[in-house]
Symmetry: C2
Subunit: 132 residues, 2 copies
DNA sequence: TAACAAACGTTACATTATAACACTATGATA
DNA sequence: TATCATAGTGTTATAATGTAACGTTTGTTA
């Protein structure tokens, strides 16, 4: 029962912070904000992040070294992720597009390589920044 | 004449190393191998890397913090990159697929955001590792 | 209750990347 | 030819990101 998976104390604390943020969080900014809750060392944060990623609760935005809560619950356990990133305001949004994910899941190259996961990041200008 | 762009001394040295490598190189492993050529500091490497990326000569493999020479010359000045990455042997290959790049270049989300660039990374098992 | 796996806490360290400053080369321009 | 702008260089120091290694604690299961 993967869905009933109960999180550990540290995992809950860190997921909570990431879910409440409206932007991707960096590992060390997470560390600073949980130090009052007794989490003092980077490793405690990174271990929780690693587990949360495995569970698909959060994703890493690779080009930004930052972590964001999963909003789509379509990206089965983090195997298929897509983000839009504004290069001006750094706003990051998870893309949930059935056609896109279907297209990418079915993608095969000529070599016959087996793809288990993918991560796609679009960079551009969000609608707010476009106006300014 | 973007093609006739001439590279500086450091840029040439570093591009040369990356092009001759058959794997993505890390910034500090580049640094170590160019120290005999007088490049002593990380910044000298990172500055050259930054320029080479802008020119589309190399790409950064974001999830690996590593740099690889562009093989496709279809990804106009690094605006559209796709890689396949073997999670076992860490072999990285740039994907040149007309259909894929066309599909992604034309992708629009509901928000109306303008996409200028994208980077896609597939993770899986290469054909060599599949056999073992 | 023994045995095991997962999570925890801690110290130390490794890796990746940038800030700040002064200097140099190059080519355009007036 | 002076002078101006731009890009590149070299250097020191430091910031930011991520792990290794060790032993302990906790919860689950046989
Ligand atoms: Zn998701
Ligand atoms: Zn924006
Ligand atoms: Zn390329
Ligand atoms: Zn492989």
């Amino acid at each position: 029962m993967a869905q009933t998976q109960t999180l550990s104390k540290n995992q809950k604390i860190i997921l909570d912070i990431i879910e409440k943020a409206n932007e991707p969080l960096k590992a060390y900014s997470i560390l600073f904000s949980v130090q009052k809750k007794g989490i003092k060392a980077p490793l405690q944060v990174y271990r929780a992040l690693e587990k949360l990623i495995k569970l698909g609760k959060i994703h890493k935005v690779e080009s930004r070294n930052a972590f964001i809560a999963c909003k789509s619950s379509n990206c089965e356990i983090s195997k298929a992720t897509a983000f839009s990133i504004c290069e001006t305001c750094e706003k990051v949004t998870e893309i949930s597009d059935q056609k896109l994910s279907k297209y990418l899941k079915n993608f095969h190259d000529k070599t016959g390589m087996i793809y288990k996961k993918y991560n796609l990041e679009f960079y551009g200008l969000c609608t707010t920044c476009k106006r300014n």
